[in-house]
């Protein structure tokens, strides 16, 4: 679920600054496009109701 109110370009610019990433204005559309895709994909897991007791495996044992 994409929140239409979020300005992803602004998010990308601000967060990149926080991480000390110097984004070339030329790269910005590509990064925003990729981030928008990531957000869509992430919604599949963020919207999923995980039981509270499920914890990430500290050392992953398959």
């Amino acid at each position: 679920m994409t929140d239409k109110k979020i300005d992803w370009t602004d998010y990308v610019k601000q967060t990149a600054q926080l991480l000390k990433l110097n984004l070339d204005p030329e790269h910005l559309p590509g990064v925003v496009d990729n981030f928008t895709k990531i957000e869509e994909i992430a919604s599949l897991i963020t919207e999923f109701d995980l039981p509270e007791e499920i914890e990430a495996a500290p050392k992953f044992e398959p």
Binding site: L21, G30, N34, I41, A42, T46, F60, P62
Partner: protein, 454 residues
Amino acid sequence: MNTQPDAVAISNAVIKGDLKAQDIVSSCIEAIAKRNPELNCFTATFTERAISQAEQIDFQAAKGNHPGIFAGVPFAVKNLFDVARVTTLAGSKINSKNPPAAEDATAIARLKQAGAILVGTLNMDEYAYGFVTENSHYGVTVNPHDKTRISGGSSGGSAAAVAAGLVPITLGSDTNGSIRVPAALCGVYGFKPTYGDLSRAGTFLFSSSLDCIGPFARSVRDIAAVYDVIHGYDDRDPICSKRSPEMCLPELYKGIEGLRIAVADEYFTTGAEPEALEAVEIVAQALGVQQRVSLPESHRARAAAYIITAAEGANLHLQRLRSRLEDFDPATRDRFLAGALIPASWYAQAQRFRRWYRDLLREVFQQVDIILAPTTPCVAPPIGQKTIVIAGEEIPVRPNLGRFTQPLSFIGLPVLSFPVKLPGKLPLGVQIVAAPYNEVLILRVAKALEKQLD
């Protein structure tokens, strides 16, 4: 393409004295020099040291000593494996200025100890981020079956080198399908064992939660033999399993009687071209499999794998993204940058979902021993193609080639991509999947199939 002897056959001939390792290596290097300009599998070859090792092998064989199960067998590795005195590229221009590696990756050292001879390193997507091996620094590795098409990736050079008959065995790495996808598109065997089973020490990682290494080969017994030689605990890899290794080669011919095999349903039957699903049916029919099994929430498993990969990959490269941005491959640059911006909560949720999905599939494996699924949704797309039309929908090539591989590696399952080659058609692959640490079962099924379908 399958008429050449496999690695075990070559080795047997060397041990018996029917072939000289030096001749094998010389003709291998010659073939690479002749065909690599067109195929672009190799990014480096090591003629001098390969010949020198071959001389040693021949000397040992002449003395009646056993030089190892891979005596005189040439092999090559994806260029993210450390090779002593060589700079590890990991498909990048940035790493090309790094100092040379001090020692061989564990997997290489173990293969060499078994008599195998390293002849070169192989092309890949930059930092393993891709399914295509269209690398802006080192060029495209073309598909030996159709040179207008991609070899798949990110271990494209590893798959194409075996498919072209340049070397009988290679090594690659698989985070989301980077062994299985190119293996399928090039029509060779590609094996991604259980997460943590084979040491990754001395390889340039991508997403540590998911990264595995594994072999490509033209026969099941070669896959089994490489696995047997490489596996075993290694304290240089923090996630390497301490389980006692189970040898596959002696078990290969035990057949499939009593094994519960099922075809993955639902998610694994959608979003694919009919021929990819037909390949699964051909394999199922050969094994007499009727049963279907559902792996619920696999689309979310794929999503979670995507988030973990993007976040971990970006974190690994953060310093380089700050200082060397202009030297990244444009195909990976924006993806890495976007991954760096992922909120921590999304990543944590993906890791927790991983545990949940693992528990779910553990239950599934109470009912079945082996699951069959397509490897890719389509045959190798043309080079440069950005989108593919699958089931009437136009979707981007790069992420979607891993549609069926990603949910399985997400929870570290062992998977072999079994090649299916129909006359006049481009190759495809079928994933043979088992519960963790059941590599032997997978290879027993593959051996039975190889006999029927090859």
